[in-house]
Structures are given as C-alpha cells and as structure tokens.
Symmetry: C2
C-alpha cells in the first residue's frame, strides 16, 4: 500500500531514486570511470600527466552540463573551472578540489600506483582500489561528480548551484591558487559555502568531521662549501675532515637545533602568536577523546606508539588532539654523500640538502613565520641557501555555523558514530575562502581510505572493518545536497571562527 506521507517531500522521494540509481550504476558504470581518472598520473612535483588530467577533469565537467568550462593557466599548473548556476534562489556550492597527486618514486607498491587495480582483499580489510590519488583526492572528486551525474540522469535539477574549482598544485602548497581566486573572485563570491570531497570514515566506521585545517610553509635548505669553508665544488677525501669543515655536519647541526626531541620547535618566536585553545574547542576535545579508538587509529596510520614523553609514556588521546593546535616541524627529506647501505666511501661532502615543512595553526601568520625561519637560519648557518615557498594559512570553522550544522546532522542521520575534530591533521588552502568570501568549508562524506602520500594509498569498495566504501560516499553526497537544497540560502558568515 502506497501512502502519501506529509514527511515524504518531493526531495526525499528524489533521494531514494538517486540512492537506488547509484547502487545500480556503481559497479559497471561508475567504478571504471574512477579507475580511468586514477590511471592518468598527475604529479604536480614533476608535471607528469598534469595537462592531460586537467583536460580530463574539464571533460567530466562538460558531461555534467557545466557552463563556462575553462582550463585557467596560472604561473604554475592550471586550475579547472566550470559552473552550474541555474537558480539564484538555491544555495551555491563552491566545489573545491585538486587533480594533482604526490610523487611515487622509490615507494614500494603491491600494484603499480597508476594501474588503479582493484584488490579483492587488501591486507585482509576488504575489497579496495589501490592507487595514488584514490583518496587524495581524485577518488572523492570523481565520486562526487558521479552523484551529480546520477541526479542529472534521473531527470531532476541539481538541488544546489555549483562553481567548480579544481586546482593542480595542492600538493605543492597551492602556490598560485590565491592568484586564481583573486582573478575569479567575481565568480566565486556567489558561493554560500565550499565543499571539499573526502572519504571521512575511520577504519572502524566512525565518521570524522574536521572543522579546522592547518596551514603550511615548505622550505628547502642547501649547504655548500665556499668562502666560509667546506669543500668548494666536489667531494674530497674524508681524511681532510680533520681540518676542513663539513656542509653535512652544518646541515645536521642546523636541523637538530630547530626542534627538541619532544617535538617542540626551537626556532625563536614560533609559538608567539599561537592562539590558546578556546572553551568551545576544549569541549569538542573532551567529546572526541571519549569516542576516539587509539588502537584503531594507530593501526590505520601504521605506528605502534605515538609520541612519548621522557618517561616513555605514550601520548594520551587528549595530548594528541591538543598537538593539532600547535605548529609542527617536519624533515621531509635529507641527503648528502655516499648513501649506499653496502660498502663504504670515506668522503667529505661538498653539499647537503634538506626538504622541510612547518604546519601552521591559528593565529600564526605566514609572513611572520617565514621571517622567523629565515632569521634563525641566517643566525645559525649564514652559509646556508634557503628557499621558502609561499605557504598558506590555517582555517577554522565553528560547529555553530549553520551549514556546518547541516553537514553534521546529515552525517549523523546515517546512524554512524560521529567524531568532531576541532582541528584536523592535514593542510589545505581553505583559509582563502574564509578570508575572501567569509564562507565555511564542508569537508567529507562516508567511505574510508588512507595512506595519503604513502605507498598503497587505498579506498574501500566493500570493507570488513565496519567502514563504508566509495559507493557510500556517493550516497552521502546525495543526502547532503538534498539537505542543502531543502534549507536553501542562509546568511552565515558570522559563525566562522
């Protein structure tokens, strides 16, 4: 017996159709397209496949019926732009994502990283796609497009308007993205909120909603022999190290001076502007501590032990979350000299190099931190050559922001446990949307994957761990869009932290 319920709105009928349709189309129609997108390498560090992937991304926007599609050149890699602006009364979502991925060199993968292979039982956890970019972020991007495709296929209008912005330099620190945003601000300012696609379930099926993201500054240090001492132009015999200074020791000593073994950064003034944790955030931390499964988290990130204090006591869940409100300095790479693990070569090296980064939290300022890094290095190793990338700021949303509340409520309706993280581990240039347009960033949906920047990056198709797969992400996006369409446009800018 079919009855017309007062609660069964037109949209809630739609959502049922869409979910049915996604389930019907996913395996044969959608999954191969996700694989196709992942098979094209798009490594911004080297440029490999970047142009091809930008064009492929534009083509997918065209399939969605987007207007005004452009591959916008920047001083670096291009940004893919498009729009679906049909009804000014509907809220407009700025869909922000990236088509670039991290390099894979010297990583050990169980399948080629750009084969987008389906592994029937990946590490005993379930059916998965293993590929560079499958979670960060070509997988979620394509899955989001497929939800839109489903709506369109059902003959309905999309519940919201869209401007699409998919950049190609996120993994390089979004170097030229602010330039793009500035030139396209007339277009972008129409947006009421930003949506960034990601698979937000933990391995155990908790949904992780992240209200803050950290900024980042990359920098590179070279030390080369020269007027100060050290071998000028070539490696020399290490027997001379008794009276010739070493660029390698200089670099090691310099880096070592930057951080205490506790993780505290020793560059003077780095903590000066760091904001104390608010009462609202403390409350969120308390709630999160109750829900967080530390053992599951450690398993997911492949560590046996989190940071320990001098008494070898492992960091508590609370300490761990609090750390996300503090800056963090990382050596991403260091190299000098003969590094073969077999044999020996006694050389005094003429140069040494390191790749580093620092994560920024509220209220650190990029220019201030750049200056402090520069001053520290000039003071401690005036012979060093330093290159600091532009970098970008942190961003932070309030849980009271109405769009954020809708996002949380929609995900809560899946009956999964929700973990609200006041600050996330990752970095993304979300600050620019906050600063420029005063709008919040909604981040995530169902589904689980992990190992961003690592070998065997994977996303579930069907897990044994309680977490959802890509299909669940597509369904959760349909629900969110439906909900956003229902509540319509809301004035919300004062709720951003």
């Amino acid at each position: 017996m079919v009855t017309s319920s007062p609660y069964l709105t037109e949209r809630s009928v739609d959502i049922k159709w869409w979910i049915k349709q996604i389930k019907k189309d996913f395996e044969k129609k959608y999954l191969p397209v996700i694989q196709e997108y992942l098979k094209e390498p798009s490594i911004s560090a080297t440029g490999e496949g970047i142009q091809e992937t930008a064009e492929m991304t534009a083509k997918f926007l065209a399939n969605l019926g987007a207007a005004n599609i452009q591959i916008v050149p920047t001083k670096g890699w291009p940004v893919v732009y498009g729009e679906i602006l049909k009804d000014p009364k509907k809220p407009t979502v700025l869909f922000y994502s990236m088509y670039d991925v991290q390099p894979v060199e010297s990583e050990k993968w169980i399948v080629p990283p750009f084969s987008a292979a389906i592994v029937e039982d990946f590490e005993g956890m379930g059916r998965s796609i293993v590929a560079r970019g499958v979670i960060n972020t070509k997988g979620p991007t394509m899955a989001f497009f497929q939800t839109l495709q489903t709506v369109i296929n059902s003959g309905k209008d999309l519940p919201v308007n869209f401007v699409f912005v998919i950049e190609g330099e996120e993994e390089l620190g979004s170097l030229h993205f602010p330039d793009f945003v500035n030139s396209y601000s007339e277009k972008l300012k129409q947006a009421d909120l930003v949506y960034f696609p990601s698979f937000s379930e933990s391995l155990n099926g908790h949904i992780k909603i992240v209200l803050g993201c950290r900024g980042i500054i990359y920098f590179k240090i070279w030390i080369q022999g020269g007027d100060w001492g050290g071998p000028r132009s070539r490696n020399i015999h290490s027997s001379l190290a008794s009276f010739v200074d070493s660029p390698t020791w200089k670099l090691i000593d310099l880096i070592s001076k930057m951080r205490a073994s506790s993780g505290k950064i020793l560059i003077p003034g780095i903590y000066e502007k760091v904001q104390p944790i608010s009462e609202e955030d403390k409350q969120m931390i308390n709630d999160l501590v109750k829900k967080l499964d530390l053992e599951e988290f450690k398993k997911m990130i492949d560590v046996n032990k989190l940071y320990s204090d001098e008494n070898q006591k492992e960091m508590s869940k609370e300490q761990m979350i609090v750390k996300l409100f503090e800056p963090c300095l990382t050596v991403d790479g260091i190299i000098s000299g003969y590094t073969d693990e077999k044999g020996s070569k006694t050389v005094l090296l003429s140069s040494a190099f390191s790749n580093m980064d620092i994560k920024l939290v509220p209220n650190m300022e990029v220019e201030d931190i750049r200056n402090k890094i520069r001053n520290f290095i000039m003071e401690n190793a005036p012979e060093a050559k330093l290159e600091i990338e532009e970098g970008y700021k942190w961003a932070k949303m309030s849980p009271l922001n109405p769009y954020i509340k809708i996002h949380i409520e929609t995900l809560r309706s899946t009956n999964k446990k929700i973990e609200i993280w006041p600050m996330g581990t990752g970095s993304a240039p979300f600050y620019i949307f906050q600063e420029k347009f005063g709008i919040p960033v909604l981040d995530g949906g169902l589904g689980h994957g992990s190992r961003a920047h690592s070998p065997n990056e994977f996303a579930f198709l069907k897990s044994k761990t309680g977490a959802g797969g890509i299909i669940d992400f597509e369904i959760s996006v349909a629900k969110l869009l439906t909900k956003l369409g229902e509540v319509g446009k809301i004035k919300n800018d004062r709720f951003i932290q």
Copy 2:
C-alpha cells in the same frame, strides 16, 4: 773524458742506465699499460671488475718473473700474492698495495672515470691522466712494476728481494686483510721493510714524507619506526608528525650529538687513550710549519678556508697538523625521504640511514672505540640499528728508523724540498706490518696527483706547477731500490714508534 770515480759504484752506473731506459720507454711502452690497468674498473664497494683486476695484477707479477703467484681467496675480495726471493743477503721489501678503488656513482667527471683519458692541459696545471685509481693506488702500483720491469730489461738482478701483496679491500677498510697476513705470516716475516707506492709530491713540488697513518672504523646507522614509535613500515603523511615520532629527527639528533661544531667528538671516552704529542713529533711539526704552503694546500684540496674557531679565524698551519694527532668523525653520507630539490612531498619517513667513519690516532684501540660508539648509540638512540665494520689501528714510524732515514735521504737527493709529516691525513692498514713483523712502512716517491675518492682523480704526466709526473715516480723508485740494495739488511725494529 770518462773517469772512474770511487763514488761511481756498480749500482750508480746501473741507476743511470735505468733512468735512461725509463725515459725511453715511458711514453710509448709504459703509459699505455698504466691506462690498460686503470680502464678495468675494480670497485670493491660493488665488486665490479674486482676478479678481472686481480687476474690482471697477477699477470703483471708474472711478467716480472715473480714466483709462487696466487690469487688468494679471503672472506671478501682476494689478495694477489707473488715473490721474487733470489738472494737472502739482500733486504726483502714487502710491496703492499691495493687493486681496488672507490665508487664513482653520481660524481661529475670531465672524462669517463674508467677511460683513463690523457688530458693535455688539465685545469691549466699540465698534462695528466684523469681516472679513478690513478693515484689511489693503481697508478703508483703499475708505475712501481714498470721500474722493476726496467731493471729486469736491463739484464740486471733486482737490488732487493720482494714479496708482493696487493689487496682488494683497502677501500672497504681492509676487512679481511689481517686474516691473509696471519695465514701468510711465514712468507711475509722474511721482509725487512714494507713499501707502499704513492705519488708524494705536493702541487708545488714539495715531497711529502708521511711517518704515520691513521686507523679507521666505519659504521652505519639505521633508524626505522617500530615499537618505540615512528612509522613502522612505510612513509606516512607528514600531517601525522604532530603525534608520531620521526626516525629522521632521531638520526639527525643522534648524529648532531656526536660532535661539537669545533670538530671535537662528543662520544664519551673517545680521547681517553689518545697519546700526547711527543717532543720528537713537536720538532717535526715546527719544521713542517716552516715549509708548508697553506694557500697551495687549500688550492689542491679545493677549499677556501680551513676550520675556523668561533671568532672566524682560520686554523693555523700548526693547528692543522696537530689535528692529525686527534681522532676525527665524519658523516660520509646521510639519506632519508623525499630529496628532490624541486617540488615538495610532505612525508613522515619510516627510516633514515647514515654512513660514518672515525679516524684513529695513537694510542687509540679499535675494540675500545667500537665499544664506545656502541654504548653512545645504545644510550642515545636505543632504537637504532648499528653496524660497525672491523676497522684497524693507526701506525707510526720514527724518523730515526734506518730504512726511513734512507728513504728521506734518497728523496732529499732530488734537491726538492722535503716536508716530513709525523702523521698523515689518510688511513691504511700499515699497523699490521708493525705489529706482526716489527718493520717500518716506506711510503711514496716523486710525482703528483690528487682527488682520491673524488671526481677527476688525476696524476701528472708533465706539470706546469713544479711537481713531477709518473715518470719521475718511476725514477725515484729506481733510486730508492738502488740505495736499499747498497745498504743491505739492517736490524731496525726498535725504531718503530
């Protein structure tokens, strides 16, 4: 008018013939053979060409009419053995050298390192051979053989007896050479002295006689994530570095703790057994300081400035020589993570590795230093994996040893300025001959080359700098052998320091 001088002994007639013969044969007959020897790679670190070069070395010994030629297997690379023992009344020289060379990977050469190319005007300094091994030590070895060949060609008996020992692991720290010496001690103990061939002239034509050589211990340190913390098996996203410890930082901090920026080693107890400089050595240092041309030395080793103190004052000549009486710790290589100089990759690395060495001086003991390194690392980074090679001791000869005196006198007769270094920069396993047989090591002859372990290792054929070439080395060897033959066997063991 030809007169028979009482000073013109039979041998002094011989030496004139030989010098004439060397000059006649060098360019067309000898030089191509030196090139042939250098063209065969013999990299002990990788094993490339090792067997072929051992066989080639044995073949050259056969050409000299050596008896009992053997390619003696060891647990590592083989030792080439041979003997010319014709007259028990003549002194016996233990000719010790090596046929192995250092790796060349990632070095920039102006000619392929195993092409043994003759460069007509190498860096404006004169006609040279540029090749890996041309000074260290296949060039001097082959040049020495050619002097013997000249004597043989002249129809005369060699002025001294020989046992030849040419090892294949010197560049790895002569790991299995002591085993060989032990098994062949019945043969080797017949020797009255050791000769090690090398081009001993500085760029400016001063002859450098080195009376001591330092011992060496190589070691390797790995730090890998595990039970202590850190990423267990793969690099993970650096955003996790806020609460996951880093093998890279651990390694950098550990290495940094090993040495002060002054060069002083901070591993406890390292200096405990270091012998104070003797009055005899102080006298030699004073003499050497007067002769040493620091600017020429710095040019030769490609540095603008020697170690400087905290006031940025450059090390004096005396400080420099004194440093050779102190141990020295070197980072030969370090690697971890993403080391591309372009682009960025934010990773928290699961492992970090370093190659290091320490030079030993009188009276440091290998086992004691190994223990101190091990204890320091266990104390400061119990999670590190440490591999320490066998290593070997320092050696030191007295300028009063009669064979050493003959060596000095013979070289002084060339009218070149003589620099006597009580301690040299380099390391060689000379201690074993001292300890086992109580005999001194004579090291060197005319000729200049440099850049051992570096790109564009070269030796002069004809220089513009005042230094001799390979042909001068061959002639100086002829003179030394003549002199040794004249003085005959001398009881000399009490003069070794």
